[in-house]
């Protein structure tokens, strides 16, 4: 028997892997010490667990554990990286480059930097969602100090050319930050090879708990930051505040599992995603958003033309999916990511993001395919746009009475 709704929203958050939860619970119960307590065994025990987890995070991305700083999540990591680097290096210049399809945590932080007197260039992307390297190069200026490009897009799952952008940045001595919240466990990350200076991580997108993340801060060449949270001087002064040991232990275990299992797991998840895509390919007027080659195997973002996204979500409420990014779901605006791809608003309104993960099964995917067929038929029956298109009307020629 299937458990409904079927969870197909792994990019919003993943369930905590039971093996991760098992590792966390002792640190909630008997091993409850404050890792900053230097005077007794309770503190040392927590500190040892924190350092072991730090090693695990570093190992997944081939970094040194001294380069990993704990934060409360990728949003905080992005804030710390961008504001911390921009403020520290503001003497060298005040220009920052990012991309229009970044997560709000990066975009909103860039807006804040603009209010502080920085100038930010928001790059367009190609129709497939990827950054055009020539456009990136052209945006660099003598006063550019920082660039931020996400590894994997949260809505469309495309993988940006981080290796190439890193080379360009390094050659121009521009600090390069990468939001990798959606990338860990999905793409190989080798910080020994990549010319990345700062990288943000999240636990809860990789089967770890919410409330914990990390920032990688390169030591060679050394990158410096202005701390954003001040206090007891935890995390070598980069980030003060009592460490949430159980969450850190959970992130360490989640990243260890990712390192050990991602190769096999990604093949399996990719096969499920392809099964879903194949199952939907006989439906008329279906458009895939984002490049299908440079893309994580977990993601399928589709616009079902002439069906509005929210009514679609209602119709398929037995599938837990999202239309647009989870963080912006409260607003009525179409996804800014899809608009940046040049999708017209109507198709942007009609998009559904399916993100698959560790616990999905073939049976679940087959159920989803069947349900989608059924509901798309029903909603198109309801759609005046579909009717007009069937009657041969070109919608782009219609004068809409906008309200």
């Amino acid at each position: 028997m299937l458990k409904l709704p079927i969870y197909l929203d792994y990019s919003a958050t993943t369930p905590v892997d039971p093996r991760v939860a098992e590792k966390m619970i002792p640190y909630l119960v008997e091993k409850f010490g404050n890792a900053a307590s230097r005077s007794h065994a309770f503190g040392w025990e927590s500190e040892a667990a924190v350092e072991e987890a730090r090693d695990e995070v570093a190992r997944l991305v081939n970094a040194d554990s001294k380069e990993i700083v704990w934060t409360s999540g990728a949003t905080e990591s992005n804030n710390l990286a961008l504001k911390g680097a921009a403020n520290f290096y503001s003497g060298k210049g005040k220009h920052v480059i990012t991309v229009k399809t970044e997560h709000k945590a990066v975009l909103d932080t860039c807006r804040e930097l603009e209010r502080q007197g920085f100038e930010v260039t928001y790059l367009d992307v190609l129709e497939n969602g990827l950054v055009d390297l020539d456009v990136f190069k052209a945006a660099l200026r003598p006063d550019t100090i920082l660039a931020s490009v996400m590894f994997v897009n949260n809505e469309i799952g495309v993988i940006q050319p981080i290796g190439e952008i890193g080379e360009i940045c390094r050659a121009k001595s521009v600090i390069f930050h990468v939001d990798a919240a959606q990338a860990t466990g999905k793409v190989d990350i080798d910080l020994n090879a990549l010319k990345v200076d700062l990288m943000s991580f999240s636990a809860h997108k990789t089967y770890g708990p919410k409330g914990i993340g990390a920032l990688y801060i390169r030591r060679k060449p050394r990158i410096r930051l202005e701390a954003q949270m001040h206090g007891g001087g935890h995390e070598r002064g980069f980030r003060s505040g009592t460490l949430a040991t159980h969450q850190i232990v959970g992130m360490g275990e989640a990243f260890r599992l990712a390192r050990e299992e991602m190769a096999v797991e990604n093949k399996r998840i990719g096969a499920l995603r392809d099964r879903l895509l194949k199952g939907l390919s006989d439906i008329d007027q279906v458009f895939i958003n984002g490049d299908m080659v440079h893309r994580v195997p977990h993601n399928l973002n589709i616009s079902f033309a002439y069906i509005e996204g929210e009514s679609m979500l209602m119709a398929i409420k037995n599938l837990a999916v999202s239309s647009g990014s989870a963080c912006t779901s409260a607003s009525l605006e179409p996804s800014y990511v899809l608009r940046a791809l040049g999708r017209d608003d109507e198709l942007a309104h009609s998009s559904i993001r399916f993100t698959l993960g560790r616990f999905n099964t073939e049976e679940e995917i087959d159920y989803a395919i069947k349900l989608l067929h059924e509901k798309i038929g029903k909603l198109r029956e309801l759609s005046p746009l579909w009717e007009m298109v069937q009657d041969g009307v070109d919608l782009s020629t219609v004068q809409w009475a906008a309200h």
């Binding site: 009525l332 759609s383 005046p384 906008a402």
Partner: protein, 127 residues
Amino acid sequence: MAYSVKVLDHYENPRNVGSFGKEEEGVATGMVGAPACGDVMKLQIKVGKDGIIEDAKFKTYGCGSAIASSSLVTEWVKGKSVDQALDIKNTQIAEELALPPVKIHCSILAEDAIKAAVADYKKKRGE
């Protein structure tokens, strides 16, 4: 988004979905909204010789509240004269469906659809 029971009912079992034949006598159409805004409503009324709305049909591209608002309106206009139909206000629709503030625009759109359909009717009659 938590939908009210009535919105869910209209959404699950929309009343009067469809279109009248183009040539049918007394049929008038109101089409409001725009795809770029995320909702388009097409409301059709079929008006008898006595000026009473005998039947109504709709098609809506939009969220659940937009679909429910238009479905409700097709029920409400039936049996009314075209001028009585114009008395239906968006606040009544919003109240009946218990629409949250972010969905009030759906009821406004439904009211606009009635106005547009009646205007089309009057235009066709040469008023």
